[in-house]
């Protein structure tokens, strides 16, 4: 007569079921969300920073003795000679009005309103100019000229991106801790519910590792299923978000979320194993 080779020694109904799965699913979803949003924000910040650092401008205002127009030839000469400057363009008055209109309103800039001269400088991306030296040289030949590297804007963007990363790391840490605690309590309840079976197993020669593996198998199975559902929900979320942020739909981005369920499974395995072994060691 053939008999099943494998048997389920710990009754599944004595171990945490749907509640643990639901929590793990939600936690995996949140972890994916935190990681995904952090990645998207980080990439957006990178792009903005790249744009910000790839654009320089020179603003020329009149001084007590020199008008802006009088200083312009010297500045252009300096820019032409400066290493690392790929190109530059003097903005027309219409360009300047278009830049100011969002703040001052359409039609509010009169013909008599004094505007500075603005030169848009495109640095060589492979060999950008030494901005401090260039700024000093321009200042020396045109006292009313100032090189703007958009440093303050870049710093603000960098600190915002760092804050977002920190926030995401904090969320991931909290989610990890909460998940670990839930698995820990579920394991503890499982140990208590199966105390008698564990005693019998010990008595017939089962080693701690053998008993622990019964628990690990159960919780890994549960976590894997719940984490897969959590990941799927996150993928749907980001795919939907792709309507707003195109990158959220890219395969390269979505694949970065895959480690989350793997991490959940690893967490479940380690928490269960360590806790069970620790508790078993308190017995003879």
């Amino acid at each position: 007569m053939s008999r099943p080779t494998k048997i389920t020694i710990l009754p599944p109904e004595s171990l945490a079921g749907p509640a643990l799965s639901a929590v793990t699913m939600v936690m995996t979803f949140l972890a994916c969300l935190a990681l995904g949003c952090s990645l998207l924000a980080d990439r957006a910040a990178d792009r903005w920073l790249q744009r910000a650092t790839s654009a320089l401008s020179v603003q020329i205002v009149e001084t007590g003795t020199l008008s802006a127009e009088e200083q312009l030839p010297n500045v252009l000469r300096e820019l032409r000679a400066a290493p690392g400057v790929e190109s530059f363009r003097v903005l027309t008055r219409d360009d300047l009005i278009a830049l100011l209109e969002p703040w001052l309103g359409t039609g509010n800039i009169g013909e008599d309103m004094p505007l500075p001269l603005l030169i848009e400088v495109t640095p060589d991306p492979d060999n950008p100019p030494a901005t401090q030296a260039l700024s000093a040289q321009i200042r020396a030949i045109a006292p009313g000229a100032r090189l703007d590297t958009h440093g303050r804007w870049r710093e603000t963007l960098e600190s915002t991106a760092n804050a977002l990363q920190l926030f995401a790391a904090l969320v991931l840490t909290m989610v990890t801790l909460a998940t670990a605690m839930v698995i820990l309590f579920a394991t503890r309840a499982g140990l208590l519910a199966n105390e008698e079976i564990i005693h019998v197993l010990h008595q017939i020669g089962a080693q701690d590792g053998y008993i622990s593996r019964r628990f690990e198998a159960h919780f890994i199975g549960r976590t894997a299923l719940a984490a897969a559902i959590g990941l799927a929900a996150a993928l749907v979320f980001f795919y939907t978000l792709g309507g707003l942020v195109a990158e959220a739909r890219s395969g390269g981005f979505l694949i970065l979320l895959l480690p989350m369920p793997v991490a959940a499974i690893a967490l479940s395995w380690q928490v269960t194993r360590r806790y069970v072994l620790r508790r078993l060691r308190t017995q003879i």
Partner: protein, 231 residues
């Protein structure tokens, strides 16, 4: 095979359950352990089958000081000790067949190597027709037979039984005793705790009597001479 030196046992801060017990049971011996309820019989058996550690003294099994062994080694030592619990301790959701073959599975033996022997043993203890039954559907006697089958299936070197015939009719009880005697003839050391006067009177084996935490030999003069002043 089983040696206890100055062994005392107390649970937590409670009174001493066993007091300064010295005991030497040689390999291949058969001993009844008797005594009134609360005398410490089950506690003594627990020390022997490594379910408890003594508060004082040493327990030697198969020549090894059990306190000096690692957890892993103690687990391996338990594989050489078959235990029949007073309350059977069959696992409720496993069938009779799965329950009695559990020690073989834990030891990592291949099912193809033991399946026929397991079925044969179950037939021998009268459970051949109940292989797929769950413990809760068995009578008390059937559960006890299943528990005995689980204890002997690995052919252990020591068999410890706590009231093994308590819930079976005399005929089955005697049959189970004969199984244990057969195993004893093959060199298995047997210790049986029992209240059943008829049992120890029908079978002429040394009887250890435990009372008020102390042990004495009260019957059978064929004490193992090579062991000196032993019980």
């Amino acid at each position: 095979m089983i040696r206890l030196e100055n062994v005392s046992l107390r649970y937590h801060q409670g009174p001493e359950v066993l007091r300064n017990i010295n005991l030497d049971i040689p390999q291949g011996a058969f001993r009844f352990l008797t005594g009134p309820s609360g005398a410490g019989k089950t506690s003594l058996l627990k020390l022997i089958f490594l379910a408890h550690a003594p508060s004082q003294g040493r327990v030697y099994l198969m020549g090894h000081d059990t306190a000096a062994q690692s957890r892993k080694t103690r687990a391996l030592m338990r594989r050489y000790i078959g235990v029949v619990f007073q309350d059977f301790r069959l696992i409720d959701h496993l069938t009779v067949y799965e329950n009695i073959t559990l020690p073989l599975r834990i030891a990592g033996h291949k099912q193809s190597n033991w399946h026929e022997n397991a079925v044969e043993l179950l037939n021998w203890v009268g459970l051949g027709e109940r292989l797929d039954a769950l413990p809760e559907t068995l009578s008390g006697g059937e559960q006890q037979r299943a528990a005995i089958a689980r204890a002997v299936i690995t052919r252990p070197r020591i068999i410890i039984a706590d009231e093994p015939t308590g819930n079976v009719d005399p005929e089955i009880g005697e049959r189970l005793l004969r199984l244990l005697i057969e195993l004893n003839k093959m060199g298995t050391t047997i210790v049986i705790a029992t209240h059943d006067r008829q049992l120890w009177e029908n079978f002429d084996f040394p009887r250890l009597h435990l009372d008020k935490g102390q042990i004495e030999l009260v019957s059978h003069m064929a004490v193992d001479k090579e062991s000196g002043p032993v019980l």
